[in-house]
């Protein structure tokens, strides 16, 4: 009886439960977004900078617009659908790059803190405190405005979003794992740090780190779109979802579709990733909040 209970507690992933319908839908949407992003160049009917001054501010299909521009056009006659498709690619790429970078940065610092303890750990904890004391958007505003913005800087900056949470999680996990019997056991078998960390520690903490990353991903999308909305993120002629909303804001009364479509994509995408993240967390690791 106790045996059974401990076995199932140790490995909940082996229990097969049907995946909730909402999660399936979320998965479907994420997959769709990834496909759209991957094949953006094939899918978009026009170039994002192609002007069509004869078809300025045409409404979407169903609201009196022509079939040539299914989601309408903007003030310069650029095709909203094409811009949306490219924006999805840009936003996803930035968010993905920033998340990976952030998990790597935070995870490494967390592991370093847990491995060396002492002064190094105190310094890392101090950095975490300092980061937590400064709302990200205010930090980002100052840095972007004064350093100018390139795509690389934007991604690096967004990677700072949430690194302190990843660092906390990784440090906590590593500290917990190093007191676990299996780490001690492998160490006393004579294993070196490579075997300890890469063969044993990483696989054991990776599930939680992935959950932590999934929970940060939608927030990074929101942060990027917020910055782009304020005009400090992605710069024209490149386009991103937040950038489109910011641009469409000037035409809110005359051409609301310009901002509505990217808004809808932002909301559904972050919602879908949040749902998936919550589900993954419940499934893999209920200890992360």
């Amino acid at each position: 009886m106790t045996e059974l209970a401990s076995a199932s507690a140790a490995r909940p992933a082996t229990r097969r439960r049907p995946i909730p319908r909402g999660v399936v839908l979320a998965f479907g949407w994420i997959l769709l977004m990834i496909l759209v992003g991957a094949f953006a160049d094939v899918l978009r009917p026009y170039s994002i900078t192609a002007l069509d001054l004869s078809a300025r501010l045409t409404p979407p299909i169903g609201f009196g617009g022509p079939i040539t521009h299914p989601l309408g056009t903007d003030e310069l006659g650029r095709d909203v659908l094409s811009r949306l498709i490219v924006s999805i690619r840009v936003s996803l790429l930035i968010a993905f790059g920033a998340t990976v970078l952030g998990v790597f940065l935070g995870g490494t610092l967390g592991l370093v803190a847990a491995h060396f303890r002492g002064l190094i750990e105190q310094i890392v904890l101090m950095l975490i405190d300092a980061q937590a004391a400064l709302p990200f958007i205010i930090l980002a505003l100052s840095v972007l405005a004064f350093f100018g913005n390139s795509l690389a800087l934007l991604i690096a900056l967004l990677a700072l979003y949430g690194w302190e949470r990843h660092a906390r999680v990784a440090r906590g996990l590593a500290l917990a794992a190093s007191t676990q019997g299996y780490m001690l056991a492998v160490r006393q078998l004579g294993a070196g740090p490579w075997r300890l960390y890469v063969h044993h520690m990483l696989p054991n903490i990776s599930a939680t780190m992935i959950v932590s990353a999934t929970l940060a991903f939608p927030e990074i999308i929101l942060a990027e779109s917020g910055l782009s909305f304020l005009g400090l993120g992605v710069q024209p002629p490149m386009t991103s979802l937040g950038n489109m909303v910011g641009y469409g804001r000037g035409y809110i009364s005359s051409a609301p579709w310009i901002l509505l479509f990217p808004s809808i994509v932002i909301v559904i995408t972050t919602l879908a990733i949040s749902i998936t993240g919550d589900w993954l967390r419940d499934r893999l690791d209920p200890t992360v909040s």
């Binding site: 140790a10 019997g181 078998l189 004579g190």
Partner: protein, 327 residues
Amino acid sequence: MTLLRLHKVKRTYSTRQGLFGETEQVSAVNGVSLSLERGRTVGLVGESGCGKSTTGRLALGIELPDSGDVTFDGTRLPHPNTKAWKALRRRMQLIFQDPLGALDRRLTIGAQIKEPLAIHKIGSPADHEGQVHRLLAAVGMRPDQAASYPHELSGGQRQRAILARALATSPDILVCDEPVSALDVSIQAQVVNLLLDLQKEFGLAMLFISHDLKLVGCLAHEVAVMYLGLIVEQGEPATLYNEPAHPYTKALLAAVPDSTRRGPRPLLSGEPPNPAARPTGCAFHPRCPIAVPKCSQVEPALLPRADGRLVACHLAHVESAAGEKVS
């Protein structure tokens, strides 16, 4: 032939609260001497917190003593994590209390038994498969169980798997730290019998650490009773169990359930031992039913008695001297 010798080893931990906190000295092992021989088992018993697990780690060289020394095959143990230390892991192995925790739950049993072979580069990777099957057979498991994950096995089987992993490098010394206390009683007996068989087969020297006197009595050739970092009594299990000389041993034995006993049991009273605040003199005196003023002032030495036993108690020696005079 003495394989491993601990000579007056001491180990003190300092714990600190935060960056600017005060340090607190906790003396875990306070001068313990033991020796292990091939094919023989020394049992180490005592309450939790008495320093028996620390003694086990010192014996293995996972930690170095603050003073005193540990010699293996005549040479001192090297610093942890050095090359020599890692090479030495091959010859000394540890069995843990918690068999599930000591296994990586994401790797199969077979992969984990192979690990020591890979770490110490024993044989070619092609031979490892066969080696795993031989080891599994030696601990009474089926070859197909190499493919199972720790959570798919029962507690007893996990402990067998850990034994197989420990035996992979054909060690000379096995330190077992409460190896069966997490198991059901019926399974405890199986694992203990397995340990006895393996000792005969491989000629292992074993240090068996447990709080369970009865269990230690079943397999040890010599028993050492520890209290607050010191051995208070040491001898062959038969004599030590039949007529315990130290009042602490008496109290421990009295706490073992026994259907044949009549009358009240002399139970341990007073505060449980706290290694951070060691009493003066004999560390046991605040809880000792027969303590005299001398006990709180002078620390008794671990001295041999006429029957060959070692006891650290002022009164036990007086008693035995008096007994010898009478007889």
